[in-house]
């Protein structure tokens, strides 16, 4: 992997990390409300997958870093957390619902497993349209226990759909350890009778990038679906209101010892790393300033986005 790409991956992981620090700080100050699922610790997966995959992306509520790595501006992501009009979803979505069709980024879904059938449908559309890049769907280990997941791997398999199922296995379904709710430690077991599966160290951004690239290559050849399981570790609780009591300090130490940013830093020129860090800190500061200064949505537009403009004519 060339230095330029390594630096890009490093920059986005760092940007994601500091973005989440900024989000947390502003949540605690009362500028951000509701749910806030921080991606701290899992940046390798979020950045590696978004940078490697060319096609459509469907993901979960833990999405800030993916949205940023996909190319959505940190200003509009931060403004969305603040619920402001310049937010990526104009304050209608919030932390868990960010979309950018122009970047083939389709959210941002807060129902565990609920977005997987949507990704399958989109993969069907791409196959029908003759577009070979396919669809990437990201979900956690917890989602692999729900019906939507099993229906989806079956449908993707029987129709040979161009879709990459990327399981982010951080071993916790909210606060419940995977061993209590799944028969398998590795969730790929559930998919392997339907499609080939791969496993990757989700704390290593280079490995994630390369594995996703390889998996997309498989899809592009028209082979149908593939399942990739990335073993990860989140440094924070499930959401900001989760005090993370269910993990021992020893477990957390082992977890943090795998810090993907520290791991990559060893391969980045020291001066470059330092200047990137300063750049990122400045950018986050600007994004927070932007979000603070952005206007609240206008109440007269409460219903504006419920339907298309044409549709609204029938309602108002």
């Amino acid at each position: 992997m060339d230095d330029e790409l390594l630096e890009d991956l490093y920059y986005y992981m760092l940007l994601g990390r500091y973005f989440e620090y900024g989000a947390k700080e502003n949540y605690l100050q009362g500028n951000i409300s509701g749910f806030l699922h921080l991606d701290i610790g899992q940046e390798a997966l979020s950045v590696g997958a978004m940078k490697a995959f060319e096609g459509d992306v469907f993901t979960t509520y833990r999405e800030h870093v993916m949205a940023i790595a996909r190319g959505i501006s940190i200003k509009s992501v931060m403004a969305e957390l603040f619920g402001k009009i310049d937010g990526v979803s104009k304050g209608r979505g919030g932390s868990m619902h960010m979309f950018s069709p122009e970047l083939n980024f389709y959210g941002g879904d807060a129902i565990v497993g609920g977005h997987i059938p949507n990704a399958v449908g989109c993969a069907y559309a791409r196959k029908y349209q003759g577009i070979d890049t396919g669809t990437l769907v990201v979900f956690g280990d917890g989602a692999t226990n729900c019906g939507a997941f099993f229906e989806s791997i079956n449908i993707a398999s029987v129709n040979k759909l161009p879709i990459l199922f990327l399981c982010e296995n951080n071993k916790y379904a909210i606060g419940t350890h995977i061993s209590k709710v799944s028969s398998f430690e590795k969730q790929a077991q559930k998919a392997k009778i339907y499609m080939p599966t791969m496993e990757v160290d989700g704390m290593d951004v280079v490995a994630v990038y390369e594995t996703v690239t390889q998996a997309q290559g498989y899809i592009k050849e028209g082979n149908g679906p593939i399942f990739v399981e990335a073993m990860t570790c989140r440094f924070e609780g499930h959401s900001i209101s989760d005090s993370n009591q269910y993990r021992s300090s020893q477990e957390m130490e082992l977890c943090k010892a795998q810090d993907p940013i520290e791991k990559l830093k060893a391969h980045i020129n020291k001066d470059v790393a330092k200047s990137l860090e300063q750049k990122v800190i400045n950018e986050i500061e600007m994004a927070v300033k932007f979000a603070k200064e952005s206007e609240e949505p206008d109440i007269k537009d409460l219903k504006k986005y419920m339907y298309t403009q044409e549709g609204l004519k029938h309602v108002i």
Binding site: G93, G121, C122, A148, I155, V158, Y305, T308, E310, H314
Partner: protein, 325 residues
């Protein structure tokens, strides 16, 4: 033309025009649909556009949503509304909300068709009406069509729209016959004036509309009055303007529906009428609906759970006399 043929023609004409229209559902391709609505379409449009799905409603609707996100215009069929319960997460959390949550960045030009209602001894899990729940969901358009002409025009309109549409049919209407011209100018968002009258406004939709119409002469004769019968057609949004015009004329309002009394669709219409037109009313409104009970298999019990032509006639006459007609 039969009701099911009108639906078929609407789909056929639209599919011919636009290759982005995809049809999916259980048994819609090879079998041609449980109620024969999609008959012949597989042969015309091929298995890339007419898809038999697994019996997995969550995915049928969820995949349709994904297809729409991906730029297609899916027409999704659920075998019955009873099975839509398996897809409620997709219908409510995704289909109705994605456009709003994304500030219109995501468009869902899709139609979700499903028949509902008490048919004949299909048992509790195949006889429900869910228009009350589905019409209460912000972000969807909901049609419930009672006639072949409206089936044709409303479905065409639904397919052409860029918003998500729920299209409710009734299992006992598929073989209803009506001649109509394809050149008529019908706006399915407007309530249909089925019969003009001056003394009672009766509002209904789907099969109850026909059941009411079948006894309306007797009601008029008995009460020596004239009834105006209105078919809602669009359940969300409601054409309140047409209802208001009629109720202001008649000063009396009745709604006839098949669903359970608790939380019924008609409760909303009556509530609106009382809030909005209280001083125009000469009598307390009447709501005829199903009992609060699962639908039994036994035919006598089944019919006792919903309005029938006999009970519609009986109840409206009783109410009419009590209210001074």
């Amino acid at each position: 033309m039969l009701y099911r043929e009108a639906l078929n023609l609407a789909i056929d004409e639209e599919m011919k025009e636009d290759k982005d229209i995809i049809l999916l559902g259980e048994d819609v391709a090879g079998v041609g649909g449980t109620f024969r609505v999609t008959e012949g379409l597989l042969a015309k449009y091929g298995d890339k556009r007419v898809l038999d799905t697994p019996i997995a409603e969550l995915s049928i609707v969820g995949n349709g949503i994904g297809m729409a996100i991906g730029g297609l215009r899916p027409i999704v069929e659920l075998m019955t509304a009873n099975f839509s319960l398996l897809a409620f997460d997709q219908i409510i959390n995704h289909m109705s909300k994605l456009p709003y949550m994304s500030a219109s960045k995501i468009k869902l030009p899709m139609v979700l068709r499903m028949p509902q209602g008490v048919s004949k001894q299909l048992g509790a899990q195949h006889s429900e009406n869910y228009e009350n729940m589905l019409s209460s969901v912000p972000g969807l358009f909901v049609f419930a069509v009672s006639s072949p002409a409206y089936a044709y025009f409303a479905l065409k309109k639904s397919i052409q729209m860029d918003d998500p549409v729920l299209f409710i049919e009734h299992e006992l209407l598929y073989n209803k016959k009506e001649d109509f011209s394809l050149n008529e100018d019908i706006d399915p968002f407007k309530a249909r004036l089925v019969k003009e009258g001056t003394d009672i406004t009766i509002i209904s939709y789907l099969k109850m509309l026909d059941d009411t119409l079948s006894v309306i002469d007797e009601i008029e004769k008995e009460l020596k009055c004239s009834c105006e019968l209105i078919d809602l057609c669009s359940l969300n949004p409601v054409d309140y303007a047409s209802l208001e015009k009629s109720i202001k004329k008649t000063s009396r309002v009745v709604i006839v529906e098949e669903g359970h009394r608790m939380g019924s669709y008609g409760a909303q219409i009556i509530s609106w009428a009382v809030e909005k037109l209280f001083y125009s009313l000469d009598a307390a409104p009447l709501r005829l609906c199903g009992e609060n009970v699962p639908i039994a298999y036994n035919r006598k019990l089944e019919l006792a759970s919903i309005p029938t032509p006999d009970t519609i006639k009986r109840d409206i006459i009783f109410w009419g006399r009590q209210s001074g007609l």
